[in-house]
């Protein structure tokens, strides 16, 4: 079968925050879709299929949201598919959509990620629901929270890799500092290490400021068969490689509960498809559900052989060899679950085109950028490598 090349012709994100303006998830989804469509140079009638990432019906109280959004967008008649993979839902939707183009089943598709994770339910209700995104019968009903499971996995990683509380603070401050330059970010903050130490303990060693927030918001990309991309979008980034993998659902059944094996495998698969190596990744949007999660991800993705050393020598800072989470990441930009993976891909595409927020846009563009998302404690990993067009700005 001939595999078609895929280009990100349009990309957009709404602000991620806690909405207090009376708007709802249908409004945010439409707003992101229309911005991405406008940037793509395509018309509604060009769209063959709609892929919607939304983690849970509990959040918006809407089963079958893909069909609802097809109607809301004025796309009635297109193929519509809802994609779900816990926290990885957005990236799973990107992959599903891109594979449809590669297989020749569609020419132009819209991918929307949306969730009202902040405003529709209480924080306690959302946390209870998140508990069921691990093994609901062995973990969720025991009352194990997302933060507690991540904290246990991080402790195993930290013991092995010599990660300190100061390293957690460095990640926290860096991501939120980046978010200060992102006008759509939920938590643009300039805290001090003392502020972090003074924030409430959630599940040791994690304190509130080590955690990503619950956010509302949407993100959208338009993917096109590269040979059908509008001429004026010749500078748009292409999807170079995608990889997905799973790990044991039970943390305790893993040979090393601190290592994200699924992420390592997904990255190897994406690199093989792209013909790239981790060392060639110059920008990365990583899944920093918690500060330590970012460090665990860096190790699993092969972006560093000594995570603490490279963190502290600035390798992942905005001017480092691989700038990580320029957007602020989940911790700074925010985390409307379904929108997260789509938003990461949109961010990478905009960065590689030189069209991101001006004060975050690097002077020199790397060849490759990486969007990294996972569900569970990296039970399901989905990563995407994007490649800059030769004509990019």
């Amino acid at each position: 079968m001939k595999v078609r090349d895929v280009t990100v012709t349009g990309a957009a994100l709404t602000p991620f925050n806690r909405r207090k303006d009376g708007t709802g998830f249908r409004d945010w989804a439409l707003s992101a879709f229309e911005m991405a469509l406008e940037r793509s140079g395509l018309e509604r009638s060009d769209i063959d299929a709609l892929y919607v990432a939304s983690e849970s019906d509990f959040f918006h109280l809407q089963l079958n949201p893909a069909s609802v959004l097809a109607t809301e967008f004025g796309l009635t008649g297109v193929a519509a598919t809802r994609c779900e993979g816990g926290g990885a839902s957005g990236q799973v939707a990107v992959h599903t959509a891109a594979r449809a183009i590669q297989a020749g089943a569609a020419k132009h598709v819209a991918v929307i990620g949306v969730d009202p994770s902040a405003s529709s339910l209480s924080g306690d209700a959302i946390r209870t629901l998140y508990g069921f995104s691990f093994d609901a019968w062995t973990d969720g009903m025991t009352g194990l929270t997302s933060t507690a499971l991540y904290a246990l996995s991080f402790q195993a990683f930290a013991a092995e890799h010599g990660i300190t509380e100061a390293d957690l603070a460095t990640v926290t401050l860096q991501n939120r500092s980046n978010a200060c330059h992102n006008p759509g970010a939920h938590l643009p903050r300039r805290d001090s290490p003392q502020d972090i130490a003074d924030s409430p303990a959630i599940a040791s060693p994690y304190r509130r400021l080590h955690c990503s927030p619950l956010s509302d918001g949407a993100a959208a990309i338009i993917l096109s068969r590269t040979d059908a991309t509008p001429r004026r979008r010749a500078g748009a980034a292409r999807i170079a490689g995608m990889g997905t993998a799973t790990d044991h659902m039970h943390l305790g059944a893993r040979a090393d509960p601190g290592f994200f094996t699924a992420k390592q495998i997904a990255m190897q698969r994406a690199c093989a498809e792209a013909g790239a190596t981790p060392a060639e990744i110059g920008l990365a949007e990583l899944y920093d559900a918690y500060a330590g999660t970012q460090l665990q991800s860096i190790a699993a993705l092969g972006l560093s052989e000594d995570v603490s050393r490279d963190l502290n020598n600035g390798a992942f800072a905005p001017t480092g060899r691989c700038a990580i989470n320029l957007s602020g990441g989940l911790m700074g930009q925010g985390a409307p679950v379904g929108a997260t993976g789509v938003g990461q891909t949109a961010t990478c595409a905009l960065l590689l085109e030189g069209r991101y927020h001006p004060s975050l846009q690097p002077d020199t563009l790397p060849r490759y950028a990486l969007a990294d998302t996972h569900g569970g404690v990296c039970t399901l990993s989905a990563v995407t490598i994007l490649e800059r067009a030769e004509k990019a700005a």
Binding site: A151, A201, A203
Partner: protein, 126 residues
């Protein structure tokens, strides 16, 4: 603002995991021993890490070593190693002092599969 309250009462059949759930309610650590490699998983794995689908139920002593623990808003939780098990286990730690490194499974006592480790008492110790 649309306000809506929904109460949902689930009745979930545990299926193949029924012996595990029944064990928890009376404080038994009922594990799955692989017929091929004898690896013992707790919580049970339907398919062993070696790939074998056949296994037998076996009751572990119920005591466990605490490897990592986390404390916070929702209580204490741990990654522990049950004596006799090949896999490790995440669970709730109930009234186990921070200085203690071992505990014993507690009976969940209701119809929820709540996996809990509690302090060893002289009576049940050893």
């Amino acid at each position: 603002m649309i306000s809506n309250h929904i109460g949902l009462d689930y009745a979930l059949n545990p299926g193949w995991m029924a012996p595990y759930v029944a064990g928890l309610s009376v404080g038994k650590a009922r594990a799955r021993r692989c017929q091929s490699c004898a690896a013992t998983s707790f919580p049970p794995l339907r398919v062993c890490t070696c790939g074998c689908l056949e296994g037998n139920w076996t009751d572990l002593p119920g005591t466990a070593q605490i490897l990592f623990r986390t404390t916070g808003l929702d209580g204490d939780f741990g990654l522990v190693h049950f004596d006799g098990a090949t896999t490790k286990t995440t669970l709730r730690l109930q009234a186990i002092p921070a200085t203690e490194t071992r505990g014993i499974i507690a009976a969940s006592g209701d119809n929820l599969p709540v996996l809990c480790l509690t302090a060893l008492t002289g009576e049940r110790d050893g």
